[in-house]
């Protein structure tokens, strides 16, 4: 707040000096707002790159090595897919730490009541970060990341949050995840074991959509994002359907079918 005196403003000079205080305050506010907008763009860009990185590792044939197979996370379907998912998650987390560092760097701009003042500026980057983080988390655990875990990722070593995580940004960030999962499922399909993976993602996204539906009355952007989720879900369902139809003509297990195809291609 401005450092005005407590006497009436009876003269022009008094008014001018008071308004000088307002000017400094407004300039300060605008400059900070600008800095946070730029920061948010940077966070968005880096987060988008991380999402591409995760996709890249998951579709990279070269990294298809031997793995532990099975487990809670993603990629239980094919040999090596599980290890690939873990590799992706670990590489992703490494990069995500860079983003977390960026948030740590603006922590001082967002202390006290300031965070809520600048939430609209912080929000775009924050949501994109949550999208990337939750993608990595899904690859690792096959689950949706919890609110507290996201908040923890935005806290210092002592566990003190850089700023409070708005529920809205948390949910909208997660909602965007379904679009990436659709892309992931569709690319996976053309690969060995990808058919099972697509089914898993289908169930997962269907549940996301159901869970999020309850919250649509509370956040105006969520309705729109739910529509996108529905479209993504239909794409995954159609893909899963196509697999079923193709394989249903034959009396063989999916694995055996995969083997036959693999043999033909590498004749």
């Amino acid at each position: 707040m401005s450092d005005t005196t407590n006497t009436n403003l009876g003269s022009r000079d008094a008014i001018l000096s008071v308004f000088e205080g307002f000017r400094d305050e407004l300039d300060d506010h605008n400059d900070r707002r600008e800095r946070l907008i730029k920061h948010s763009r940077d966070v968005t860009n880096l987060s988008k790159k991380i999402i591409f990185l995760l996709h890249r590792i998951m579709t990279d044939d070269a990294s298809e090595g031997s793995g532990d197979g099975g487990g809670v996370g993603v990629g239980g379907g094919g040999v090596g897919d599980r290890s690939r998912a873990l590799k992706a998650a670990s590489k992703g987390r490494e990069k995500l730490r860079e983003v977390q560092g960026m948030f740590a760097n603006v922590r001082h701009e967002l202390t006290g009541d300031r965070f809520w003042r600048y939430q609209r500026q912080v929000s775009p980057g924050l949501q994109e970060y949550i999208e990337a983080l939750s993608f990595a988390h899904y690859l690792e655990t096959g689950k949706l990341i919890g609110y507290e875990e996201v908040q923890k990722s935005l806290s210092d070593d002592q566990g003190a949050p850089y700023f409070p995580l708005p529920l809205e940004d948390y949910l909208l960030g997660l909602s965007d995840l379904t679009g990436e999962l659709m892309r992931y499922a569709i690319s996976a399909i053309s690969r060995r074991g990808g058919r099972t993976k697509a089914q898993d993602v289908c169930v997962f996204v269907r549940n996301c959509r159901a869970d999020f539906e309850v919250w649509t009355p509370y956040f105006k952007d969520l309705r729109k994002k739910q529509n996108v989720t529905s479209q993504s879900l239909e794409k995954i369902e159609d893909a899963a359907y196509a697999i079923m139809v193709r394989s249903s003509e034959y009396d063989l297990s999916p694995d055996m079918l995969d083997d036959i195809v693999a043999r033909t291609v590498s004749f």
């Binding site: 009436n8 003269s11 022009r12 605008n30 003042r117 939430q119 949706l144 919890g146 507290e148």
Partner: protein, 223 residues
């Protein structure tokens, strides 16, 4: 989402909703008060100077009663969440600032400072992360004051008070000089600041009329 997380999110949502309802109720209270004050202050345009104190005597108790509502809102808002909920009472608060500064002008002929308005409305500076008077809101209230004073300049003359416009003129020009020092974005404040120029122009026209009626020769002898 696993059940624990689902419940966690639902709990947070529930808390926010309750909070929103509580604030809404308190703001409705504040709103009622500022509406009463606007109604009363609308009478300044037909109240002769000598009856002004009586009119202000009606406004001031309402103004003072705002302190209770202010405290009630401040009590409900959680620490650090001032800016989160602020939109809910911004309009009412700006009206309150208008009322306070108008009373201030009518009583003393000077502009109440932001801390003075804060005092009048009973906003404790220590609540700053829950309930505060932002510079922007103070400035909006002051612009409303000027808007209304340009009307008063006209109506004062109608009531035979030829000094008021001149007083208003000086007062408003000082305020305008203050506003000119700000660097504004293309936001509502900027648009309202632009409107100030028209108020000043109107007031100057009244001053012009009043000055010349007394001293200058007229082309037609209208009176």
């Amino acid at each position: 989402m696993d059940v624990k997380d689902l419940e966690y999110v639902n709990d947070l949502l529930e808390q926010d909703n309750e909070l929103r309802e509580k604030i809404k109720d308190e703001v409705a209270e504040l709103d009622k008060k500022t509406r009463t004050m606007s109604g009363l202050l609308n009478r300044i345009h037909s109240t002769p100077a000598e009856q002004m104190p009586a009119l202000l005597g009606q406004v001031k108790p309402v103004l003072e009663s705002c302190r209770t509502t202010t405290a009630a809102i401040a009590n409900v808002v959680p620490p650090t969440q001032f800016w989160r909920w602020k939109d809910m009472w911004t309009n009412s608060l700006r009206s309150a600032v208008f009322a306070a500064t108008m009373v201030g002008y009518l009583e003393t002929g000077t502009l109440l400072t932001l801390p003075q308005v804060r005092d009048v409305l009973g906003i404790d500076p220590q609540w700053s992360d829950r309930y505060a008077l932002a510079a922007e809101d103070y400035l909006h209230g002051v612009i409303s004051l000027v808007n209304e004073l340009s009307r008063l300049a006209v109506n004062a003359v109608t009531m035979g008070n030829f000094e008021e416009p001149i007083k208003i003129s000086t007062f408003v020009k000082d305020i305008f000089a203050g506003f000119s020092m700000l660097n504004l974005k293309n936001d509502p404040l900027r648009r309202r600041y632009d409107s100030l120029k028209y108020d000043i122009k109107k007031i100057e026209e009244v001053v012009y009329d009043v000055s010349l009626r007394k001293l200058a020769p007229s082309r037609n002898q209208a009176s």
